[in-house]
Symmetry: C2
Subunit: 375 residues, 2 copies
């Protein structure tokens, strides 16, 4: 079985491009991972997700452990088979969603106990249990179990939480064991504090992981603060393994993160927005429910070759969105994911061709134009 | 422009098979028309609908005239272009849905006034207006505007209503005018009364249409009464033009209707059921939300080659249905439409090969077996 590997093929400034090889196929970086929370990227068939250019999906441990349960997925042959996605899957550790979704959370040194947001049943996640669940799911890239404090928080709380996450990272590594063909990523914490981030990075490097995530960002601190943190945090992580910025983000967040040395990202934004009528194009964001689109025969983006843009008018998408038709979610999610993957491909090419700064300038210039004028 | 034509290629008992040629392609009969109410077959992309084997879709005049309006669809190039379906479309007249959905209906000799179920706005449909709307939509097969009384109703009410529908049929024909490449179908009424059905059929034949529908059935009379009526009603309509049974139905309704000489049908059942978890297979009906499927690695139907059956387990479909994921509607609608189209193809082959009675027997025998046993 091939071992997990990362090869950087080019670097322009801090922006990198390369490829992660896994036993289930290659992941071109920088990579955007669509989120398949409950064993589906909402409103998309897996073949369509692949058509947008996605090399890897993210699955949510918290959701899957509650329903249909990791044990059931294992009995059914693992998450890839269950959800009909043969390529790589990264699973998060469950930690973040326990904190954001579950009720009656109780945090101890051992782990977290909580009640399910679905049926109120009681559960526990520890580093060991998180590794067990992610093993049963069969994910290719496993994330350490960590704690992620909401920002703003005081320095003492952030430091304490980071220390706990580092102890959990060591336990995660121990529990993960030796699983050829599967990778384990550590998660750096430390809020916006440079020294705490450095301390966390050092602790993780000491333990040793196949890749390193920047955790604890995109939790309300704002883009400027996030970029400020990434300016030091990314460089604290090893150069020769993938760097993954968790839960990010908007298109300009993603471009800024890649500019700061990030290789992987995930976010529900393109899929969630597809269901709420928010559409991403190279000229920024538009809302399809706006009356200005009702009679507009033009596509969302005349340069986009996704099915929504090749085959449908804004007027149609407006109509089906207003009529609450499922096809509206299907088409706009497809478009948004296609936009995100096209953006990633554009960045990969730009880094390869050593013109990332020009790419960034064009990206921002097109967005500054804003959406096409009404007819 | 090719004129609308119908060629019967075989007949076995009263069951017929053949082909309707239109300017937008051939319709193999017996044909099942998926319903694309608001310019979309719910939860399906048009390419997927075509993949199930559908040659023609049905669009609903009532829904489309209210939203996005026929005028808007015409400005945007017609319904085919609007909804990205290049093959034939049949539109109903709006009459049936006005009666079942609209508020404050007022019926006169001239037509029907009503308030929209969407926004309460006031509208009128007359035979002339129905023809105008269907022309603006650009439908290939246009239906006469008729009135359809709910059953049971007394004979006088049914007769009176049928007479009105026949006067409206004459006005529809007059208003339709001469539109090469587009067909106009008359609609037989008369409840379950043989003599009223005969009177209606005679009136329609006198006016002259490109095809004839059996209207006013599948409105609560039950299968036995419906088949009893079809036993005389279908034969009252011309042999050399298509016979269309409106709003039917369940798989066994469809087989029984074809056995009685029907060539075309439409129903929301396969698509609606796909969204409510009801699944049609050759072994009958199953409900995917039932706990018995939670751990079942088998497909819905091991002989079905739709994506839901080729790529997913019952366990997965159960999970995504219980999780209210859109993919559940997408996959189960696909399966159900595939099942219906496979059933139609089976009947077409059976009639061609003069073994329709054997086909019927096999159809009922497989259903009598019931769903596969739980593991």
């Amino acid at each position: 079985m091939t071992k997990f590997s990362f090869t950087r093929t080019a670097q322009d400034g801090r922006a990198r491009t390369g490829v992660i090889e896994t036993t289930r196929g290659a992941i071109r970086t920088p990579a955007f991972m669509p989120v398949g929370t409950a064993a589906t990227v909402k409103a998309m068939l897996p073949g369509s997700v692949r058509e947008t250019g996605a090399d890897i999906l993210l699955g949510n441990t918290y959701h899957l452990m509650l329903r249909p349960t990791a044990e059931r997925i294992e009995r059914l042959g693992g998450l890839h088979k269950f959800m009909n996605w043969e390529r790589p899957i990264l699973t998060d550790s469950g930690g973040f969603q326990v904190m954001s979704l579950a009720a009656l959370r109780k945090l101890t040194e051992k782990g977290v106990t909580f009640k399910s947001h679905i049926d109120g049943s009681k559960h526990e996640i520890t580093p060991e249990r998180s590794m067990e669940i992610q093993r049963m799911l069969g994910s290719d890239i496993v994330m350490c179990f960590d704690e992620c404090p909401a920002l703003p928080a005081d320095r003492a709380r952030i430091s304490e939480s980071m220390q706990l996450s580092m102890r959990w990272a060591a336990r995660s590594k121990e529990a993960f064991g030796d699983r050829p063909g599967h990778a384990l990523f550590g998660i750096q914490q430390g809020g916006l504090e440079e020294d705490l981030r450095a301390e966390s990075a050092a602790a993780l490097r000491e333990i040793g992981f196949d890749g390193y995530a920047v955790g604890g960002l995109a939790v309300g601190e704002g883009q400027e603060a996030m970029f400020g943190c990434l300016d030091f945090a990314a460089g604290q992580l090893p150069e020769d393994t993938p760097r993954y910025l968790m839960g990010v983000g908007k298109p300009d967040d993603i471009v800024g993160a890649v500019a700061r040395g990030i290789d992987m990202m995930d976010c529900v934004l393109p899929s969630r927005s597809g269901r709420t009528g928010q559409v991403f194009t190279r000229r920024g964001v538009l809302n399809i429910k706006n009356a200005r689109h009702a009679d507009d025969p033009r596509p969302l983006d005349d340069r986009c070759d996704c099915p929504a843009c090749r085959q449908y008018s804004r007027a149609y998408l407006h109509h089906v969105f207003r009529s609450q038709e499922i096809i509206a979610s299907m088409l706009m999610t497809w478009h948004n994911l296609h936009y995100y993957q096209t953006l990633m491909a554009g960045m990969r090419d730009a880094v390869s061709e050593m013109r990332f700064a020009a790419f960034e300038a064009e990206f921002h210039a097109a967005r500054a134009e804003g959406d096409i004028e009404p007819l």
